[in-house]
Subunit: 233 residues, 2 copies
Amino acid sequence: MLTNNEIKTIRSLKDKKFRDGLGLFVVEGEKMVGEALNSSLEVVAVHRVEEIGEAAMAKISHLTTPSPVLAVVKIPSEPVPGSLRGLSVALDSVRDPGNMGTIIRLSDWFGVSCIFCSPDCVDPYNPKVVQATMGAIFRKKIIFCDIPVLCRRFRSEGMPVYGTFLDGNDIYRSELKSEGLIVMGNESNGISPAVAAEVDARLLIPSFGGSQAESLNVAVATAVTLSEFKRRG
Amino acid sequence: MLTNNEIKTIRSLKDKKFRDGLGLFVVEGEKMVGEALNSSLEVVAVHRVEEIGEAAMAKISHLTTPSPVLAVVKIPSEPVPGSLRGLSVALDSVRDPGNMGTIIRLSDWFGVSCIFCSPDCVDPYNPKVVQATMGAIFRKKIIFCDIPVLCRRFRSEGMPVYGTFLDGNDIYRSELKSEGLIVMGNESNGISPAVAAEVDARLLIPSFGGSQAESLNVAVATAVTLSEFKRRG
């Protein structure tokens, strides 16, 4: 059984304000809850419909159709790591939950070291993002930090900072190192001027066949960029 | 001014049943309407908020926040073309509107010849899809057809049929021709058995760094696949 107070607390986690205040987020579905339990994250509580009843589950679920199991998980507090080795991604004001979830999922696929987020990115512990990651959120380090400062740290350690721009150099013909930072920008405005000033190599995914398209979706651009870096090893 | 009947008709276009019955779909926003007017598609009507008033616009708009302009456009009826030259994409039961919109948008970027859809794909003229294409829906040929029959036509014309599978061959090490058909499958089930039987070359986008991720989102997989085909020319 859940008390009214517990129900109220779990419901409140739909809002970033309460997730931040309590340091907790919600995970739903057998598969996702199983992955949370097998991860290094701290699972605070698991609620099953057969224990709490359908009415209570409908109240605490963040989904239109509640699943039979819901877990409350502690938001990990990740400092910028001491070592920045490997290839990492920095998101500069990525605002759409679907894009954020897709980028976390594909960063997991491509073996990205860390995902750095500017403070104005959409919250990765937003329920829509969590579900879109398909479990990758339990495996990847997601670190909020000042992106220009981070870029300077990468450079000071001899690793390049890459960014995608509509006036960059053809990524297929560019030298790409196996370690460094790839910055991806906002859905409408791209990479902000303060971050752009810290980018060493401006990359472009060229269009083909005389396309009149103006841009690629940021999640798609991240996928193509990571594929190109990783295939070259 | 709009009559109540006109308002009712435009509102009804939220539903696939009425879009199919009337052969019409709705486009919203200055940029999208401008692209529709500049395309080969037939624009049946353009309604501006300064002409019809905010109340009527709120009634006919499919968006939460109506934009100042809305157009009613004829759904193009595209037969399978006589020539299948170039690189095309076939979608086998892609059901998510966001994925469909993203795939149409990136197919435009990568200069894909045609987008073929199985009859059970999500409707590309669904308002969510239309907006997600960022105008690409006015530039790309979208053709509903039987995908196994289409695969056999490609093969009979000497062009290979590719598909992505979780047990396929590393795409980065595979021979990829500049012409042919790339089949992408359903979000949960991948490519259906009937279509899989017609695929000549089974491709896999490999994961990296010992990733435990099980799959990539279909729009992301389409992007990586097209990037790999196109960069090789």
